[in-house]
């Protein structure tokens, strides 16, 4: 086998290998860890992005671990939706690592913790990539666990009381949810005898009627647990504290990428394990998807309204992430392929947008010692670049033209209109209007809000913080233009999954 045949599995092996060596390197020369992690992240990104031309909607790349065929061995499958998210994940991880160069050195105390911070960033990359491309339900839950626990460590690395408490709280939530996932997997395995996602779908289809209730219970348990993990509104109580207490990249990681992973797991459940073409549990799947969609509508609107009541900028961004989750899940739970593709595109757009908001907020409030909104009055005139980054991200979040948020939201709305789902579509407009108003007030405050309250001795953020944030902001616009190339492929991939071809 040539090396290119092993390409899919390298996505998992390369970041894991870099992560394993990182702490050893850190024990020798602490400053090398940053460069090592950056090399690892760039290598992973190169491997992921070089797949872009090779994966087509009809022809995902597959890889059999140990050359065992699916019912016996594990299989890796890189399909278009997974690749789209994987490209975003690897790109954002590079940004996080560059952003951390000065930020982590200034905020992590004692500095002997820095090697572990970079190790965890590489581990969380490995966890997320493995999670996106695995074809096995048990691997899915193990890698979700790896991702969440590594994210927990990344938040706790600053060692402040708030960060420790919120990450411990998150750890309890994750651990309890994992037990739920194990139970659901066990239920499903007990009536099918397999853990491979595609085999599961086939065996659920050919299932004896006495076993069907068990499969339905497993589906509801999966959706319930993953919705909590995705911070879907009533179950989003753990997210804001976690997002505001860590470093800026840590906050961005938990509220954009980790949450997007859980949403993607729901997509996997609804379109690979329990695809729409199953006749045996068709009614149960429809009811589950419809209720998930309505909770998504609620989360989108409530998240946007909650944004209006926040007095702290980071907390406001955390609630915008909660709102975004609602939008993603409302798309994924819809019945039209275009709406589902719109939900997935929203997951990618949301990951980039929320990251940009967090990093822009970090640059904007650098050295200020506060993220309280009333202290930011007039700061935009003092720090125009940072304010511009936040503004671009806000426009993308609200879904204004020329941004990736617009492309994703348009696709989602088109899908909803195709099926005549006008009520959810109307709520999307309502939520968007609220979010737009909140961000308009913020931008107005930044630029026109009277005399800046800060003194002149305030130093601007270092270039290693401004540049990554600016790159993400630029990518929001660039992806908005490029999305017209990717969207047909995502729609076609979702359609073929929905029809079982």
């Amino acid at each position: 086998m040539s090396l290119s045949a092993h390409h899919p599995v390298l996505l998992l092996i390369v970041p894991l290998g870099f992560a394993a060596i990182c702490p050893l390197l850190g024990a020798w020369r602490r400053s090398l860890c940053f460069w090592w992690a950056l090399t690892g992240a760039v290598a992973t990104a190169f491997l992921t992005w070089s797949m872009i031309g090779k994966v087509t909607p009809g022809g995902p790349l597959t890889y059999r671990l140990g050359d065992w065929s699916p019912p016996w061995g594990l299989q890796i499958r890189v399909d278009v939706p997974a690749l789209a998210l994987a490209c975003a994940v690897t790109g954002i991880m590079i940004v996080f690592i560059v952003y951390s160069y000065r930020h982590a050195r200034e905020s992590v105390e004692p500095p002997s913790r820095l090697p572990y911070y970079y190790t965890l960033l590489l581990l969380v990359t490995a966890g997320m990539l493995g999670f996106l491309i695995t074809d096995d339900v048990f691997n899915l839950l193990v890698l979700l666990e790896v991702t969440s626990v590594a994210a927990c460590g990344i938040v706790a690395v600053t060692g402040t009381g708030g960060a420790l408490r919120s990450s411990l709280k998150y750890l309890f939530v994750v651990a309890a949810l994992t037990v739920g996932l194990i139970l659901a997997t066990g239920f499903l395995y007990s009536v099918t005898g397999t853990l491979d996602m595609r085999q599961l779908a086939l065996r659920v289809e050919g299932m004896a009627s006495g076993f069907v209730p068990v499969a339905v219970v497993a589906l509801s348990l999966f959706l319930l647990v993953l919705a909590v993990e995705a911070a879907l509104f009533p179950a989003s109580w753990w997210l804001p504290d976690l997002a505001v207490s860590g470093l800026d990249p840590a906050g961005a990681l938990v509220s954009s990428l980790v949450v997007a992973m859980a949403s993607f797991a729901i997509f996997r459940m609804l379109f690979v394990v329990y695809p729409p073409w199953l006749a045996t549990i068709g009614a149960a799947r429809r009811i589950a998807a419809a209720s998930l969609g309505w909770v998504g509508v609620l989360a989108f609107v409530v998240g946007a309204v909650m944004m209006a009541f926040q007095k702290d900028l980071k907390r406001l961004i955390a609630y915008s992430a909660i709102s975004q989750v609602g939008l993603v899940l409302l798309g994924i739970a819809a019945s039209a392929s275009r709406a589902v593709a719109g939900g997935l595109a929203s997951a990618v757009a949301g990951a980039c947008t929320i990251t940009c908001l967090f990093l822009g907020c970090g640059v904007l409030t650098y050295g200020l010692g506060t993220t309280s909104i009333k202290d930011l009055r007039g700061l935009g005139r003092r720090r125009p670049v940072a304010a511009a980054i936040v503004t671009v991200a806000a426009l993308s979040f609200a879904g204004l033209p020329f941004t990736v948020g617009f492309a994703a939201k348009r696709l989602l709305l088109e899908g909803l209109f195709d099926k005549g789902s006008y009520v959810p579509a109307a709520f999307i407009f309502v939520g968007t209007a609220v979010a737009l108003a909140v961000f308009a007030r913020l931008v107005f405050l930044l630029f026109a809000g009277g005399v800046p309250a800060q003194d002149d001795s305030l130093k601007t953020a270092p270039a290693t913080m401004i540049l990554p944030a600016a790159v993400v902001a630029a990518s929001l616009v660039a992806l908005g233009a490029l999305s017209y190339l990717a969207i047909p492929a995502i729609v076609a991939a979702v359609r073929s999954l929905a029809l079982g071809t």
Partner: protein, 134 residues
């Protein structure tokens, strides 16, 4: 018939009961260490559920020899899953305990009035404080 069916499913019922006991502890206890213990109980329940699922026939385990009938042996896959669950459980327990201890040590260093109501604070300690303050 229904009697034997109840006995056949008893192990699953017990496993779920153990998970619920653990969940109760995680939700209701204020002390971090007790929450971790609840978590371990939950994870044990999940492991028990998986092991119980793998039982086939008399539950024989042996090395495959020529002419053996696979249908009479236990299913090895759930046992593999339990191994992985145990590793995850060990990792999570270690992380949760270290976080709890760090929070506890930090709280002890601060004077009592600045101390926030912490997850890692044991109930006894909170009670002692109440006495000291009054």
């Amino acid at each position: 018939m229904s009697h034997s069916r109840f006995l056949l499913n008893l192990n699953y019922a017990v496993a779920v009961l153990i998970i619920l006991i653990g969940l109760y502890a995680v939700i209701t206890r204020r002390s971090g260490v007790k929450k971790v213990i609840g978590l371990i109980i939950m994870q044990s329940g999940a492991s028990l559920f998986l092991v119980a699922m793998g039982l086939v026939g008399s539950g024989a385990t042996r090395v495959a020899t020529p002419g053996f009938r696979a249908a009479t042996l236990i299913n090895p896959v759930p046992h593999t899953l339990v191994l992985i669950c145990m590793m995850m459980s060990a990792g999570i327990t270690a992380l949760a305990l270290s976080l709890t201890l760090t929070i506890h040590a930090r709280n002890r260093k601060q004077p009592a009035e600045e101390r926030p109501a912490a997850v890692g604070q044991s109930q006894e300690k909170a009670a002692e404080e109440g006495v000291a303050e009054s």
